[in-house]
């Protein structure tokens, strides 16, 4: 008798990896990425809109002017010229900062990991929005927190619920929020809620982790101030060029008060020594001129019209009993389906009909979200968006018929 060990190290792995496993949804996404499938699943920026020549220019400039520097290690905090340059990007959102308070990270995603790394011990409480960005949940989960979830509505995180949690004795290490056009819900935190959240967290001595990848992708209305600008000492801000330039360069940053910044630099150096010098310099050059503004404006136009197309198609094709958010920026529409729909189970049938979405359960650490789905309008062209929503609409009406027949 032999015990077959398909993984001979299985008893040696750290407990924190126990949540990392194969999943049905991943299996379905392997099919969903095929060209015949309209994928409303992935939040991929439409990088095709970037003018090739602009990119060739900045890459040539970097190699020409800073060739040896671009191919060398850099400091853990990130290239000083890039940090200076990114100040301007933050100023465009009304945020003043000091380059000494910044750490360049490998996308904002690494910022999420590093912040959790320096704050969270196993069992510590962390507040997340419900629903929350799935990548943040993955990053935090490696540090084994206990999640406290605060629901969102059309005005973002329901801060009163957070207040109740704190009153009942919750002592979270930080409160994580995507206040602008959040992923997946697409909603934006109102001014009143921002003020309340900032005051509440300051009073309770709980730092806020503000993740703002979509802030500059506003389709209409006035921008609201960043939480960071409302309380620079108590807010750790994460920014990224992924949505306004390219996710391929993997350039993000964390902005925090000095003591946090110093720890983040050490954590960053421990993780990967430094970011990619080449990519940092390319990014710096891209934002050096003014062309990024025009490029971004035309990108926002593309996203706005795709959002409009998706909302129109939803009205036309989705059955009674479904509701959805109306984002004024970002990438996502968040749909609430009739209560009997299990969007995770339905994904197989959707892929069979050549359309894909992300089931809502991905965005809740506690298994909620079966009747939700996230639809991304950022990547497919408008005719594909219309086609995809029509396919989903017809599937939902078949599900409705099936449900009725099962409950005569």
């Amino acid at each position: 008798m032999a015990e077959f060990s398909v993984d001979r190290f299985v008893d040696l792995y750290a407990q924190r990896t126990s949540g990392m496993s194969a999943s049905e949804v991943r299996a379905l996404f392997a099919v969903a990425s095929r060209p015949e499938v309209v994928s409303l699943a992935g939040g991929m920026p439409y990088v095709q809109a970037l003018p090739d020549q602009d990119i060739l220019d900045v890459v040539a400039q970097v190699l020409d002017e800073h060739g040896s520097m671009a191919l060398q290690y850099g400091g853990g905090q990130g290239h000083p010229a890039l940090r200076e340059r990114l100040l301007m990007l933050m100023q465009a959102e009304g945020l003043q900062a000091d380059p000494e308070d910044m750490v360049i990270t490998t996308g904002a995603q690494q910022g999420l990991d590093l912040v959790a790394k320096i704050f969270v011990d196993p069992g510590d409480e962390v507040v997340v929005e419900a629903p929350a960005y799935v990548g943040a949940l993955s990053a935090f989960s490696a540090y084994e927190p206990r999640y406290l979830q605060v629901d969102v509505d059309d005005d973002g995180m329901i801060v009163e619920h957070l207040e109740e949690l704190l009153l009942r004795g919750a002592r979270p290490k930080f409160v994580y929020t995507v206040p602008n056009f959040g992923n997946p819900a697409g909603v934006t935190m109102s001014m009143e809620r921002r003020e309340r959240l900032v005051a509440l967290c300051r009073e309770a001595g709980v730092p806020i982790l503000e993740d703002n990848p979509y802030g500059m992708l506003r389709f209409e209305g006035e921008a609201l101030p960043c939480l960071r600008s409302m309380d620079p000492d108590n807010v750790i801000y994460l920014g990224t060029v992924s949505k306004v330039f390219s996710p391929g360069v993997r350039v993000g940053w964390a902005l925090a008060e000095q003591s946090v910044t110093q720890r983040l630099i050490l954590a960053k150096e421990a993780a990967d020594l430094c970011g990619s010098s080449f990519n940092m310099l390319v990014t710096e050059r891209y934002f050096a001129g003014d062309r990024w503004r025009a490029n971004l404006a035309s990108l926002v136009d593309v996203y706005r019209s795709r959002r409009d197309t998706m909302l129109e198609a939803l009205t036309e094709h989705f059955p009674q009993g479904s509701t959805w958010t109306h984002p004024s920026g970002g990438f996502y529409v968040w749909v609430t389906l009739p209560g009997y729909v299990d969007s995770q189970a339905m994904l197989a049938a959707a892929v069979e009909r050549r359309v894909a979405y992300v089931p809502g359960t991905a965005f809740y650490p506690d298994g909620r979200g079966k009747d939700k789905m996230r639809l991304a309008f950022c990547y497919p062209p408008k005719d594909r968006i219309r086609e995809g929503i029509a396919r989903l609409g017809s599937l939902l009406s078949d599900e409705d018929q099936l449900y009725r027949s099962l409950h005569p």
Binding site: A2, E3, V6, F9, D398, S405
Partner: protein, 310 residues
């Protein structure tokens, strides 16, 4: 020998199939075969095969199209030899509604079941008869898509009120669902190899969280395996007998896997048969082969020999 290993495809088991396929290619290449991977999800299959003219196709496709007779019929048309079961028998074996019936008729012990067709629900008001399903098979029961693999869309139902949702979930993967009595016991799998079929040592499956679902199957370490299974000689012999009866009843050939549960009294129950058993690093058939002293390459070679002996 020039061997096209067909793997990938467009089903939810695409990734699993590619993992199987790559391992088979490596194994066959180590025996000096001219083996290569051919993914019908990437290239037009008929055209590619006509151009390449392989001596034989090794079928490592999982799920619909690969296991339901579709690819087999195309290969018959092209006149290219292939490993595994023939088209018609594949069609029966892959469809649990048909296969369970065929097994039961041949006297194979398979858990009591009822079949629920999606269109019967939609057009014939079959929902009104759902309560009968629970009467017939009892609780807890297992609801499975009729035509799917890797435990995708499979749910266990403890309470009658949850049956409708489980049926809906299964119907997401297939046009019909099978509601089957849940037999408690040890899960074992029998690998059957060659012509006539030889039973490999039984593999016992012990999922750490109690359910052998998709994650338990394909996450290394999520399940413990024992080969040979930790059962008495009598139970092993009875299980092999059930497996051989299944293979003979359904006309399966070259390589198959029969999944069973041995209940508390030592009786083996056949849950399903697989005409294209997984060959990944966490798959059962390669473990069974290893327990019999065969390498993966020897296992693949024997499958080829069996197919070429026709």
């Amino acid at each position: 020998m020039k061997v096209a290993v067909l793997a990938g495809g467009r089903t939810p088991e695409r990734d699993v199939s590619l993992r199987s396929g790559h391992r088979i290619v490596t194994a066959l290449a180590s025996l000096a075969h001219d083996a290569y991977l051919l993914d019908p999800g990437e290239v037009p299959l008929a055209e590619a095969l006509q151009k390449q003219e392989p001596d034989i196709c090794y079928l490592a496709l999982h799920g619909k199209e690969g296991e339901d007779g579709t690819v087999q019929r195309l290969l018959d048309l092209l006149g290219i030899a292939y490993t595994g079961t023939a088209a018609f028998e594949c069609e029966i074996a892959f469809d649990k509604v048909l296969a369970k019936d065929a097994l039961a008729r041949a006297g194979v012990r398979t858990p009591p079941w009822v079949a629920i067709e999606g269109w019967a629900l939609r057009d014939l008001g079959a929902g009104a008869a759902l309560g009968k399903a629970v009467e017939r098979v009892g609780l807890p029961c297992v609801v499975k898509p009729s035509r799917s693999g890797s435990a995708l869309g499979v749910g266990t139902v403890e309470r009658e009120v949850d049956l409708a949702a489980a049926v809906m979930a299964a119907l997401s993967f297939s046009g019909a669902a099978v509601v089957e009595a849940k037999i408690e016991g040890s899960e074992v799998a029998a690998g059957l190899l060659g012509t006539p079929p030889e039973a490999l040592p039984l593999v016992e499956i012990v999922p750490k969280n109690g359910v052998y679902d998709y994650a338990a199957r394909y996450t290394a370490g999520a399940t413990e395996y024992f080969a040979p299974a930790r059962v008495s000689e009598e139970v092993a012999a009875a299980s092999v007998a059930q497996a051989l009866m299944s293979v003979s009843a359904l006309g399966l050939r070259d390589v198959t896997r029969v999944d069973m549960i041995v209940d508390g009294s030592g009786l083996p129950w056949v849950l399903e048969v697989n005409v294209s058993p997984g060959m990944t690093e966490t798959s059962l058939l390669p473990m069974a082969a290893q327990a019999s002293g065969r390498s993966l390459a020897q296992l693949c070679e024997q499958v080829l020999e069996s197919a070429l002996s026709r």
